[in-house]
Symmetry: C2
DNA sequence: CTGAAAGCGCTAACAG
DNA sequence: CTGTTAGCGCTTTCAG
């Protein structure tokens, strides 16, 4: 493994000159640069990452912190991760996937931060009240969130625009003629834990429905097909005349579809289903394919990393706060309501 | 940020003593250790990862190399990744997610290897003839594959036991009374590219069916729901009396289900479906839930990392070669064939 | 435009 | 059982 010394010797220049042609931190004459480059090529030189990191105090490594408990990552979260990794790689950074304990392990976080392995950190699965944010800030680690806390003052984040997403989905269904729309959310425990997407969509649903002069009916569901079946059963009991379901639960929506079909209700003829914050791949799996609000997926991860790197490399203390819309993609699970009830149309 | 110097000064010992209580590389007396530990605690000391890496020539960072093109990671691959990350974290390593160009970018790989950022590397999505393996070996990077090449001499790998998986799935269907079993594989292009799982299961299917005295009928499918629909249509044309489908294509299987239902064929009463190398979460999404050969998922990633770390920390040149079985999990998509054809039983 | 040299914070001989 | 010290390979002043 050739070192910078070797290159310098071969090119007959000093090590600092080699360093400067590499970093471009000061002007180098054409001739010198050429000599150095030739020597590097000849020796197949690659700078040592650790040495560079130690001397420059920048590891060029980013951490992607995500709680890994439960049932692994969903398609949407996976897209965040791959998007972030690709973006980091594109700008010459490395991305460490760092599974951190779901909640209590703040000390572990602080320890991680103090090791100075990460120049900055992207935090996923942020709760509305998330102590990790404070811990990280206190440790002085540049930080970008995917998702956001309740109070976002002074924070950088990228998140989905849940308000817009719900508004658009509801408007679409209402435009089709639906009036009895039931919203299936995550479980009560998830809500209670302060899971932002669940909370924000819930509030947005109330606002949107009320705005249309309609009653917002909401049912929680466990994150499973069985949870979806149960939720649909509950929904029909509560609102027998429902003609549309708005699902904020990528997993439960499959159970909803199954239960609907099992009860002899056709999708979309009897009941329309819109799945929110869903990846196209997942939407395509269902029969019929799901009309969905497509999550920005890898774009979120990419933007988070780009904002972080800009902050590290660049000017200064720019906060980056951005909400990305979900796009309505109409597939086979929605239609105008059949006038089953004479009073319904 | 306190350094080791600070700790040494406060504890009134030399830096090397501090280093040795940290690494345990040589015995330290109770009293001294206690003093050092106290000083570390008081200063909230954390060793600097870059400095440690440079001096010890071990970064404690592992690379997870995966080609990221196409449509992101499936559930099974995601499980590999999360399993690997969790395992690395558990043994004090970091795991970098490194998206490398699908095929031709061997130079990029070599460059990566020469930067000495990774102590070792886990390579995913290995083809039967994969030049990356040779390049990495030549670069002297300790290497474990998830999947395997055609010639595995001298390599460490963890892979799914496709032969066993197919054998067991076929035996299960034959045991139920099925005789006309069609195997739906990945696309012809995927086969042609040397994708191991597709090739190995294909061969295993021929062997298994022939062993039962049955004819092995195989149909390729694009990796999409539409691909599955088309494949099923082709299968029925070719084998009108088919009573079971063995699907080696997590995505296409949803299309198969949809097309079956669309043609008025009930699952499992008219046609049984077994999905191979599938995650439970995905199997549960289908209606009916899929009987599947469940992929070892995160275990593969975990074992790969553990083998790699054992090689790095440990004794020496132990190759680790291991095949993991998929477990048959019976759900709602399989049953004994209805005797539609008098000659069928 | 280029060189010399002082570290970055730690590990691992070597010496006791 | 502990201390001294020479690096690891690079970046970045400080000098010219």
């Amino acid at each position: 493994m050739a070192t910078m010394q070797d290159v310098a010797r071969l090119a007959q220049v000093s090590v600092s000159t080699v360093s400067y042609v590499l970093t471009g931190a000061r002007p180098i004459s054409q001739g010198t640069r050429a000599k150095v480059l030739a020597a590097m090529a000849q020796l197949d030189y690659q700078p040592n990452a650790m040495a560079r990191g130690l001397a420059s105090r920048r590891s060029r490594i980013l951490g992607l912190l995500l709680p890994m408990d439960e049932r692994g990552l969903g398609a949407t979260e996976t897209a965040f991760v791959t998007g972030a990794a690709a973006a980091a790689s594109a700008v010459g950074y490395h991305l460490v996937l760092s599974p951190v304990g779901g909640g209590g392990d703040l000390d572990g976080l602080r320890r991680l931060a103090s090791q100075r392995m990460f120049d900055g950190v992207v935090l996923m699965e942020v709760q509305l009240a998330d102590e990790r944010v404070g811990a990280l800030q206190q440790a002085g680690v540049p930080l970008v969130l995917i998702g956001r806390t309740g109070d976002t003052a002074g924070l950088s984040y990228v998140d989905i625009d849940f308000e817009q997403t719900v508004r658009e989905a509801v408007a679409y269904l209402v435009g089709l003629g639906h009036r009895q729309i039931v919203y299936v959310n995550h479980s009560a425990e998830t809500l209670a834990s302060g899971y932002g997407p669940a909370l924000r969509t819930r509030d947005a649903f109330v606002t949107a429905m009320t705005g249309h002069g309609l009653e917002p009916v909401m049912i929680p569901a466990q994150d499973s097909a069985a949870g979806g079946r149960a939720a649909l059963a509950a929904a029909i009991t509560r609102t027998p005349g429902l003609t549309a379901v708005l699902a904020m639960n990528e997993t439960a929506v499959f159970g909803i579809l199954g239960e609907l079909t099992g009860r002899g209700l056709a999708v979309p003829d009897d009941v329309s289903v819109v799945s929110m914050v869903t990846s196209p791949q997942v939407a395509e799996l269902a029969t019929p394919a799901l009309t969905a609000m497509t999550s920005p997926g890898s774009a979120l991860g990419r933007i988070a990393v780009e904002a972080l790197v800009r902050h590290l490399d660049g000017a200064g203390d720019e906060r980056h706060q951005q909400l990305l819309p979900c796009a309505l993609e109409i597939r086979g699970s929605t239609a105008a309501p059949r006038s089953r009830h004479p009073d319904g149309g």
